[in-house]
């Protein structure tokens, strides 16, 4: 009986660790995109994007003043949606 209980706790721990790893992977991917659109397209990579013109200026300017904010929005909602699904997959959601 107590053996069974400790086994189920172990399984639970393993599942929680996997859940956390999956979460970290989603966070990493999201943060790479987060940095790419702001620090990348908006600032550091702007000279490389200067050939692509957008409304009287270039794509980098658009990312710095509009695009990055729009991508941030998509990222947060994507993360919320993805994590709520992950919670159900691992049974970690709240009752």
């Amino acid at each position: 009986m107590s053996d069974q209980k400790s086994q189920s706790t172990k399984a639970q721990k393993k599942s929680d660790t996997d859940y956390w790893k999956a979460n970290l992977r989603i966070i990493m991917i999201s943060l790479v995109i987060w940095a790419l659109v702001s620090f990348g397209f908006g600032i550091l990579l702007r000279p490389m994007l200067s050939g692509i013109s957008v409304g009287g200026t270039d794509l980098g300017f658009w990312f710095a003043q509009q695009g990055s904010i729009l991508v941030f929005l998509v990222l947060i909602f994507f993360y919320a949606w993805r994590m709520n699904r992950l919670d159900r997959e691992f049974g970690t959601e709240e009752e």
Binding site: D16, G56, T57, Q65, I69, F72, I76, N84, E95
Partner: protein, 593 residues
């Protein structure tokens, strides 16, 4: 009806609404006072957080900074929105799962150390108080302008209003009041922007209008703007001029600071479930983005309008005449704002015209010589008046101007109230109940929260009367401090096994080094003349004091990991705590202890 009466009507009606809501939703218990009984829907919470977050800096100041600098000040746009990604992914859901009332409670419990909690409380108090001083300064200027009273009287009136609903309402009052404030401020910001975008480009969405055709010239708007400002010797609007390294660090500091500011994080304790904390961050950014996507359009279009007002027949023709400024109603805004001392012009060469150009540019100096100009004659244009003066410059109806007045005040007041709440809970909950007198009754705790709030208002009002510097500098210190102290501690608390000694050493290092760096550049305790360096030639490389928060945060991480690595492992119960925070299962309502 004259403009003054209309302003008074709009401001008065909006305040009656806020105070009415605060009285209607008066808090009863401690739990309601801090966290609105956790019955706040993510969309409602998002709207209130947005109002809380968007202060005088976002509403009044930011578009003006972008207008006169152009691309380089995109840092504010990216920095103050990008922080929400960090908040949503790295902090909000876990802090909600932890289920306590305040940020410092999390730090104290996670790092099983009253010292860690105290360091966090000190960092929160210093950051919040400096931030609220900046807000009170803004409140004073805005009230003074729109009620046509002195700056001091405006500040006292504003302090009274903040006191009324923050002290008597608590979080629940503030939450619903802030929803109303959000509605007022977003209408006040977007309606004039839509009018102006339609006038200039025919596109009703300002963010799209910015990249559309300027109807009067048939050129793209930004191209037209670049052309007209360079013809007057100013730097190209869309080009990058400043230092790239500093630009990256400044953006990063604003992002981390956003995710470390206590009054914003506290909001995510007030949603019912962990899943709601994730959605809440998204909704907050939706409501913030409505303003932030509009702001660059407001800036660029205002710059174009202002320049064209001074050069009505083009930059190579004659400048506007003094007679026109005095008699044409389209130039009435200049006389109104001149009274505030924030706008100034002078016909230096006595030709009866006001030439606005960059007199530091060699080409313009040449032209000035041939045309007989004697320097730039628009002698003063304070960046902070741009948003408030914008509807007047564009000749919009007087009700729009009244609405903008109400919106500017809503922005400043809502943030001041949210910060005061963070200060009062830090004092009563963390300092008094957590340290000095754990047996304090609920009534006593509520009373001490209100006393702390009143004291904070008095200090902020006093310092607002004698501000330690410009509001923007004060706000920069608040961001740097939050970035360097709170954010790394929270993140390490959730994602790593850093121990108590590491966290305390890290927070202290980040906090102290950042404070010193800022004081070295801005003067000790902001006393003018006591600075050893200047932001135009900073101590370390090209890092300005406003960008140093990111460096402070990095030092915090490095010191924390080093110290933690050299000292003992985490106790077992704390390991379990960290693991439980990472999984939403079993999240309960917040507990008081």
């Amino acid at each position: 009806m004259d403009q003054f009466t209309i302003n008074l009507l709009f401001v008065g009606a909006s305040f009656a609404l806020y105070i009415g809501i605060a009285i209607w939703a008066r808090a009863g218990s401690t739990s309601e006072f801090y966290a609105a009984g956790r019955g706040v829907h993510p969309v409602t919470n998002g709207m209130a957080t947005a109002a809380d977050w968007m202060s005088a800096a976002s509403f009044i100041s930011m578009a003006g900074l972008i207008a006169f600098t152009g691309y380089d000040n995109s840092t504010y746009l990216m920095g103050w929105t990008g922080g929400y990604v960090l908040l949503a992914l790295l902090l909000a859901p876990y802090l909600r799962k932890f289920g306590k009332f305040t940020v410092s409670e999390f730090i104290g419990d996670r790092f099983y150390s009253p010292t860690a909690r105290m360091v966090a409380v000190v960092a929160l108090l210093v950051a919040s108080l400096t931030y609220v001083i900046g807000q009170m300064t803004g409140v004073g200027v805005a009230f003074g302008r729109f009620l046509e009273v002195s700056n001091e009287l405006g500040l006292f009136i504003g302090a009274g209003v903040v006191f009324a609903y923050a002290v008597f309402g608590g979080m629940k009052g503030v939450t619903y009041t802030q929803v109303a404030q959000y509605c007022v401020l977003i209408m006040a910001y977007t309606i004039p922007a839509i009018f102006i975008s339609l006038q200039l480009t025919g596109n009703p969405i300002p963010g799209l209008g910015l990249f559309s055709e300027h109807q009067a010239s048939g050129q793209p708007l930004l191209q037209k703007l670049d052309q007209i400002v360079t013809e007057l010797g100013f730097k190209e609007y869309t080009a990058h001029h400043g230092d790239t390294f500093n630009m990256v660090l400044f953006t990063l500091s604003l992002m981390i600071g956003t995710a470390g500011l206590p009054h914003v994080i506290m909001r995510f304790f007030t949603v019912p479930r962990v899943a709601d904390a994730r959605w809440s961050a998204g909704w907050t950014l939706v409501f913030i983005a409505l303003l932030y996507l509009t702001a660059p359009a407001v800036g660029a279009m205002a710059r174009l309008n202002i320049t064209e007002q001074f050069w009505p027949n083009g930059t190579d023709a004659q400048a506007v005449s003094v007679e026109t400024i005095d008699s044409d109603p389209a130039y009435d805004w200049m006389a109104t704002w001149e009274q505030t001392g924030l706008l100034g012009w002078e016909d230096k060469n006595g030709d009866g015209r006001i030439q606005y150009y960059n007199d530091a540019s060699p080409e313009m100096q040449e032209r000035a010589e041939t045309e007989g100009w004697d320097g730039n004659e628009l002698t003063n244009f304070n960046r902070d008046i741009l948003v408030l003066a914008n509807p007047e410059i564009a000749n919009l109806p007087s009700w729009v101007i009244g609405l903008v007045a109400a919106g500017g005040l809503a922005a400043a007041l809502s943030t001041a109230a949210g910060l005061l709440l963070a200060i009062s809970s830090a004092v009563s909950h963390d300092l008094i109940k957590g340290q000095l007198n754990p047996k304090i009754s609920e009534k006593g705790e509520l009373l001490s929260a209100r006393v702390a709030m009143a004291a904070a208002i008095i200090v902020a009002t006093y310092l607002g009367l004698n501000p330690p510097g410009f509001a923007a500098q004060t706000v920069a210190l608040a961001f740097g401090l939050a970035a360097a102290s709170i954010f790394p501690a929270l993140m390490m608390g959730i994602f790593t096994k850093v121990n108590n000694k590491g966290a305390v050493a890290g927070m202290l290092t980040g906090l102290i080094v950042t404070v010193i760096y800022i004081f070295l550049h801005k003067g000790w305790f902001f006393i003018p003349g006591t600075n050893s360096f200047d932001d135009s030639d900073p101590l370390f490389f090209t890092i300005k004091s406003t960008s140093f928060g990111a460096v402070g945060a990095l030092l915090n991480f490095v010191v924390a990991f080093t110290v933690s690595g050299m000292t003992e492992d985490l106790p077992e119960e704390i390991e379990e705590l960290v693991e439980s925070v990472r999984v939403p299962r079993g999240a309960a309502a917040a507990q008081d202890h």
